[in-house]
């Protein structure tokens, strides 16, 4: 087995052991949501997915496996648009930058460290479990704020009929990192079926280490996702010469969502002070002029 073939944790037995240990420890962990941070959220580990575009063969087995696990409809053709019942697909980038052949790109939730969707959700329906960002569909009100705020344009509101338990009508849906299955000791369906070793699953440290190992073995590759949006929970490996930001596939990286956290309240505070001052001034002037 070459080094490339030895998975750090997607090795099922190792993973099951780790998951069982984690499950046993779960009640002991204070399952508290850490709001507004790059933390793992509930739990203490940060799980991540590694996607190696150079290894990907574009078969979209991940797309089919994800749908199958949730009982979503599988149409004849691969759906190259995220939807409430399509949480992942792979397609070639529209342009390859300096490459002749555009590389494959996985489109799905990035499980951002600074998850803008989680920040804006007005009812705390978006949570993190060990770094996996999921929508609690029993609480979601279907306001679509997460849809508008996600920099990667990932969540989709289900305007149509319900599709079983995983996509009820009226709520927003997206890849949840298979967190409920991971809790049972399974791994994400997309990772499980990948025939090309282009997907791996494990702790973020392990995924970053694996990505660095692959890149060190092949200097024509580079890593995306280490720092963007608080550090992504999906680590990408791309061929050099292709920049997904420059090609418009991924958004311009931001400094995370911390600036937004304070900007809104500051603007609201200014408006409050302005309103109070104006109304107070009018009243005081009227009183001075002998008004009521």
């Amino acid at each position: 087995m070459t080094e490339r073939e030895s998975p750090p944790i997607t090795n099922r037995r190792t993973f099951l052991k780790a998951a069982a240990a984690l499950a046993a420890a779960l009640p002991l962990l204070k399952a508290k949501e850490v709001k507004g941070s790059t933390s793992s959220g509930e739990g203490g580990v940060r799980y991540s997915i590694l996607y190696d575009s150079a290894a990907c063969i574009g078969c979209n087995a991940c797309h089919v496996a994800c749908k199958t696990r949730r009982g979503f409809p599988i149409r004849g053709m691969v759906e190259r648009e995220l939807s409430p019942v399509n949480w992942v697909f792979v397609s070639r980038a529209p342009s390859g930058g300096q490459l002749q052949t555009p590389p494959f790109v996985r489109h799905s939730c990035m499980h951002c460290g600074d998850a803008m969707c989680q920040l804006v959700c007005p009812v705390e329906a978006i949570r993190k479990w060990n770094g996996l960002v999921y929508i609690d569909q029993s609480r979601c009100i279907g306001c679509a704020y997460c849809v508008e705020a996600c920099p990667y344009g990932v969540p989709r509101k289900n305007e149509g009929p319900s599709w079983g338990d995983w996509a009820p009508h009226g709520v927003s849906r997206k890849c949840d990192g298979c967190y409920a299955f991971v809790q049972e000791g399974k791994i994400p369906a997309c990772v499980e079926v990948c025939p090309a070793d282009a997907l791996r699953f494990g702790t973020r440290d392990e995924m970053v280490a694996e990505a660095q190992r692959r890149v060190s073995e092949n200097p024509n590759l580079w890593i995306y996702g280490l720092n963007e949006f608080g550090g992504l929970g999906v680590i990408y490996i791309f061929p050099k010469g292709f920049d997904p930001v420059r090609e418009g596939v991924f958004p311009e990286p931001s400094e995370g969502y911390r600036p937004s956290v304070s900007r809104g309240p500051i603007a609201l505070g200014l408006a409050a002070v302005g309103g109070l001052a104006l109304m107070g001034a009018v009243k005081a002037k009227a009183r001075g002029e002998g008004g009521e």
Partner: protein, 287 residues
């Protein structure tokens, strides 16, 4: 393609309209007290009715309207929509209380102690209501600045929406003033168009700041006359609404001393305010 459509557009517009109307009404109440009783009653009435309508639009837009109360049951303090919901609900309650304090409808007979309390707190309700009106006006803009679209990324969007809220609310207020006729002879009639023009100039400045702080590609789309949205922004919002409706016509009224164009001015201002929300919401989601 459009996740947020007409219902959200109307919500943003009505929220601002109600906020501006309340601020103007409470201001007149402070200045003139009982002299403008009917104007204040009508202004307060339409303030809470319009914000209630706006909230209805928002609830109707939800995928699960029956869960709307989750915003109160499970607040998320860092989410603008969460604290914004609190702000608009508090504003609606204050506007309703202000109206009740002035008219006494129902409470005067059935809930005498509440009526007495409202009357005693009238001024405080007016001042707090004005504060929450400003917060409501700015919040509708703040809400959008958290989303990813470049058209919503201008830091001056809350200022523009607040300015538009005050201008549209004031335009409706000026119609109410005209209908009740109470300010005629009170030495205030000529000041009504003057304040409208001042608000128009402020809105023009806010619009300039909004455009200047937009990312280049959004600015180009907004100011493009070959794009239908750009055309609506330039012709309906800027030219007809702000320049003509809020500045030129009120200045003419001041000069002539009549109110012949008041309804046209108010209509253009309201149309401009709606056009602004429409363009920001729809064009925002298409680029």
């Amino acid at each position: 393609m459009f996740v947020w459509g007409w219902l959200v557009t109307l919500y943003l517009f009505l929220g601002g309209l109600s906020a501006g109307l309340f601020a103007a009404t409470a201001g007149l109440d402070f200045v003139g007290g009982k002299r403008f009783k009917r104007t204040v009653e009508w202004g307060a009435y339409w303030s809470w009715v319009i914000i209630a309508l706006g909230i209805c639009m928002l609830i109707l837009d939800l995928g699960r309207p029956e869960r709307a109360f989750n915003t109160m049951l499970h607040p998320h303090p860092v989410s603008p929509m969460s604290w914004g919901s609190m702000v608009i609900v508090i504003f609606m309650v204050l506007a309703l209380a202000y109206w009740l304090a002035h008219t006494g409808v129902i409470v005067k007979r059935l809930l005498k102690p509440l009526w007495n309390l409202l009357v005693r707190l009238k001024t405080i309700i007016g001042i707090l209501g004005g504060m929450f009106a400003f917060m409501t006006g700015a919040y509708t803009g703040i809400l959008l600045t958290y989303a990813r679209h470049s058209m919503w990324a201008s830091a001056a969007l809350p200022a523009l929406f607040l300015a538009s809220a005050l201008a549209t609310g004031y335009a409706l207020f000026s119609v109410i003033v005209e209908r009740t006729g109470e300010v005629h002879g009170a030495g205030l009639a000529e000041k009504i168009p003057m304040y409208e023009a001042v608000l128009g100039v402020l809105e023009l400045a806010a619009a300039g700041a909004y455009v200047a702080l937009l990312p280049a590609e959004a600015r180009a789309a907004l100011l493009s006359a070959s794009n239908p949205y750009g055309l609506i922004f330039l012709l309906v919002f800027l030219l007809a609404g702000v320049i003509f409706g809020e500045i030129v016509l009120p200045l003419l009224e001041m000069k002539t001393g009549g109110s012949a164009t008041l309804f046209l001015s108010a209509f253009l201002t309201l149309l401009g305010g709606l056009a602004l929300r429409y363009v920001v919401v729809f064009l925002g989601q298409s680029i």
